[in-house]
């Protein structure tokens, strides 16, 4: 059917003008209020940087920064997938096991088959794992928590069945390329970091500028309303878990390349950091809120805390306590905002 009620672009533009003119300061205030959570993360980030920079002379060294950016890659990727899942109102606890599955497959298979194929199979395994989660949740209407708790265990078991000993990558190109650095002016910027950074605008575009992305946002707010708007909800939920599986698999492959070894225990407990990053970045468990920039902020804040406390040789137990405190504050701040 053709568009009958065409409104000319110029008329729309002039109306937009008028809207903007009618209370621009109020609009700014509204925007600030609306995005408090995003900015809250930025504030936390800046405060952390200032504290660290003023107390440590190691922090701003090229070595430390590139280390930091390298360390946040796994959580950066997993959190991105986790965000998509959380937006639908779900949760993915199986990400850590998928990291191990992809890591150990990419490291173990490259002995027998070409490297590219090994990596492809590892990523495909992540997609399949995500699809299994998605089908059980969307099609069979099982609770996401239960389903991914089950696959968390099952996939970890599968990893041990495949190999209960660490797999070492035999193809030198694996470590050299994926575990290496970008040359030139970027100096010691890791390839893995570049890959992760590229994923952010892609997912942002997907969520904000595609019909599927908007539907995913809406599903978390009110699944039934979306279904009754004539949208195939099952397919979108399935897509969300596949994205999460793929992101985790990428994290697994890059992690194996960086470490030069893939333990079957790789990635245990990663789901917690990913959930934490998304929540610090403003995501609402149960759906209905969250953003890509916010999640990136959450990843950075968590990475900085680790980095900072490492610089001061603080035991990792304290890091966990601090992380817990920050998560609680992030959620409280959001509550206050509402």
């Amino acid at each position: 059917m053709r568009n009958v009620t065409q409104t000319s672009p110029s008329r729309v533009a002039s109306l937009k003008e008028r809207l903007r003119a009618g209370g621009s300061s109020r609009r700014l205030y509204e925007t600030l209020r609306h995005h408090w959570a995003d900015y809250g993360v930025i504030v936390a980030f800046i405060v952390l940087v200032i504290i660290t920079a003023s107390t440590s002379d190691v922090f701003f060294t090229e070595r430390n920064i590139s280390n930091l950016l390298r360390q946040i890659v796994p959580n950066g990727l997993i959190s991105l997938g986790m965000l998509v899942v959380i937006l639908t109102g779900g949760i993915d606890l199986s990400v850590g096991s998928i990291v191990a599955l992809a890591g150990i497959l990419s490291a173990g298979l490259q002995d027998d088959i070409p490297l590219a194929l090994a990596i492809l199979i590892a990523l495909a395994a992540g997609v399949v794992a995500g699809a299994v989660n998605g089908v059980l949740i969307a099609r069979f209407k099982l609770a996401p928590f239960i389903v991914t708790l089950a696959t968390l265990g099952a996939i970890r078991g599968l990893v041990y069945v495949y190999s209960d000993t660490p797999q070492s990558p035999t193809n030198p190109a694996f470590r050299r390329i994926l575990g290496g650095s970008v040359g030139g002016i970027a100096g010691s910027l890791a390839v893995a970091t570049v890959i992760m950074v590229i994923c952010y605008p892609i997912i942002w575009f997907f969520l904000n500028r595609t019909s599927a992305g908007r539907a995913i946002f809406a599903i978390g707010g009110n699944e039934e309303a979306v279904r009754l708007a004539g949208i195939n909800v099952e397919r979108h939920i399935l897509a969300a878990y596949i994205i999460s599986g793929l992101c985790s698999a990428m994290a697994g492959v890059l992690l194996a390349a960086r470490l030069g070894i893939a333990q079957p225990s790789l990635g245990s407990g990663y789901e917690l950091d990913a959930i934490a990053a998304a929540v610090i970045g403003g995501a609402i468990l149960g759906g209905g809120g969250g953003s890509v920039p916010g999640t990136f902020g959450g990843v950075l804040v968590l990475g900085l805390i680790n980095n900072l406390l490492n610089l001061y040789n603080v035991q990792s137990y304290y890091q966990q306590i601090l992380k817990g405190v920050i998560i609680v504050f992030a959620v409280l701040a959001r509550r206050k905002q509402q």
Binding site: T5, P9, L15, R214, A215, A218, A225, L228, A229
Partner: protein, 500 residues
């Protein structure tokens, strides 16, 4: 008159920018049944929820026996002897009737264990004392019928004789006989000098049970009348503030060819052998009491539920939607009854909500055209005068009337041939109602076939070209616009017997 038991002075309350109550002064005496009436959104529920501590007032004071009291939570209200039975139940579904009635007051043995036998006896006694029989107190509440749940809810409030009992639309889910028993109970409470605040939109009922009637409109108090000195016409004028001719637009459209035909459609246990046809440019009203199966028929037409037998014809072709998606693609739109539950995504913006059903039409290869989206959404925002006209604004920050317009805009954007409207003016103010009626009329004139489901009699009578009456899952009858009268419709729709 004696000193009022309850005085509420200058009560005001706003929700997210919408004024629900402005400076309401209300008083009532002990041993009185005081009805509060008004249109949807007039502020009745808000007023009593402030009294029962479920909602916090923004300003104003509450006096009991002439002394100011602080009621900031349901706990405070209980403490003052105020109990409330709301439209939405506050029962715990998987607990037994006994546990629900005695919640927080379960008897214990000397050893500190729960005394189940005593508890069940006590709950049974409470139910029988107020005249409700036939409920097994050991069953979980979730297995009871809705009327029985309502009785449990009432029993819970009457565990101890309250000083003030609030009944918010208690009869909505009860049968005629059960309502009679409820009235007997109210009379007994009156004799024990309880003040009963009775909220209902069934005016006959109000005149039957109430001593005095207070009318609210748009959050303000219009007046209080003694029921024997008033009548329904006066009350309606007070509630609406204008006559019916000013509310409903003139009919100008002529019904065209048949668009939708439903033949012997059934869904097991819900409705049976429903047949009707819907023509181009026609508004077909569907009237019936709650639970008569109207919404369920609509859901089957829309593919949200599956009928067990029967046929649907769309433009003369057999049509059997498997999902809402099929229906939307075939040109059917369905504005659902409960916008919060299944109409709107409260956490999303006006833009996202209005474009939700048209996303695929606004994108190419799955990528949204922001320009097209804004153009189309903005056109609807202007057409329906949605305020504020900020596309980024979250819908949960809008007033009820504007929220309803957003849902309507979503379906207008789809440009459907068949528009199903399920209670399209529930919970919106009168001004918005009039606007929505005008939109419905305009759509009919443009040739859209409209199925208007409503429990509001004036709305059905004022808007419909034809009226279909449903009762207990059957089509009980059909009226042309000229034949349709309030009495005629009610007589057909009423459950079980003809109402007097």
């Amino acid at each position: 008159m004696t000193e009022p038991l309850l005085q509420m002075r200058q009560i005001s309350k706003s929700y997210e920018g919408t004024r629900a109550l402005r400076g309401v002064d209300f008083s009532a005496v002990a041993g009185e049944v005081h009805a509060i009436v008004g249109e949807n959104g007039a502020g009745k529920s808000t007023l009593v929820k402030i009294l029962s501590g479920a909602v916090r007032r923004d300003s104003g004071e509450i006096l009991l026996d002439g002394r100011p009291v602080e009621i900031n939570s349901p706990f405070d209200a209980h403490h003052q002897g105020i109990r409330a039975v709301y439209q939405e139940f506050s029962l715990v579904p998987h607990l037994s009737v006994t546990e629900n009635i005695l919640m927080g007051q379960m008897p214990v043995t000397r050893g500190g264990w729960l005394d189940w036998n005593a508890a069940h006896r006590r709950a049974q006694a409470v139910l029988e004392e107020i005249g409700f029989y036939g409920i097994n107190v050991r069953t979980p509440v979730s297995r009871l019928s809705v009327p029985h749940q309502q009785m449990v809810e009432i029993a819970k409030a009457l565990l101890a004789t309250p000083r003030i009992l609030i009944l918010d639309e208690p009869s909505a889910v009860l049968s005629q006989e059960e309502v009679t028993r409820l009235f007997h109970l109210i009379i007994r409470l009156k004799q024990q000098s309880t003040l009963v605040l009775y909220i209902s939109h069934r005016l006959e009922e109000v005149f039957e049970v109430a001593d005095r009637i207070t009318v609210l409109k748009d959050g303000e108090l219009v007046g209080t009348v003694r029921s024997e000195e008033s009548n329904q016409t006066q009350l309606i004028r007070m509630m609406v503030g204008r006559t019916l001719e000013e509310i409903y637009p003139q009919r100008r459209s002529q019904a065209g060819e048949e668009v939708l035909r439903v033949h012997q459609l059934s869904r097991d246990g819900v409705f049976e052998n429903v047949s009707f046809s819907l023509k181009r440019g026609e508004v077909l009203g569907m009237f019936g009491l709650v639970g008569s199966g109207r919404t369920q028929v609509a859901r089957c037409l829309f593919g949200a539920d599956q009928p067990t037998s029967g046929q649907i014809f769309l433009h003369g072709q057999p049509f059997r939607p498997k999902t809402p998606r099929d229906a939307v693609e075939a040109g059917i739109a369905f504005l659902t009854e409960d916008r919060k539950r299944n109409g709107l995504v409260m956490t999303c913006s006006i833009r996202d909500n209005i474009s939700l059903a048209s996303l695929s039409r606004m994108s190419r290869w799955g990528v949204l055209s922001r320009r097209q989206q804004d153009q189309q959404v903005l056109a609807k925002v202007r057409e329906l005068d949605i305020r504020p006209p900020q596309l980024q604004r979250l819908v949960r920050q809008l007033s009820g009337g504007n929220q309803q317009k957003v849902v309507l805009a979503k379906w207008l954007l789809v440009r459907a041939d068949v528009l199903i409207l399920d209670e399209p003016t529930r919970g919106v103010d009168v001004a918005t109602k009039v606007e929505i009626y005008q939109i419905i009329r305009d759509l009919a004139e443009r040739g859209v076939a409209i199925l208007l489901i409503s429990s509001e009699m004036p709305e059905i009578l004022g808007m419909s070209d034809r009226v279909l009456v449903m009762r207990e899952g059957h089509v009980a009858g059909e009226f042309s616009q000229e034949q349709a009268t309030e009495e005629g419709l009610l007589a057909l729709a009423a459950v079980g017997s003809q109402v007097a």
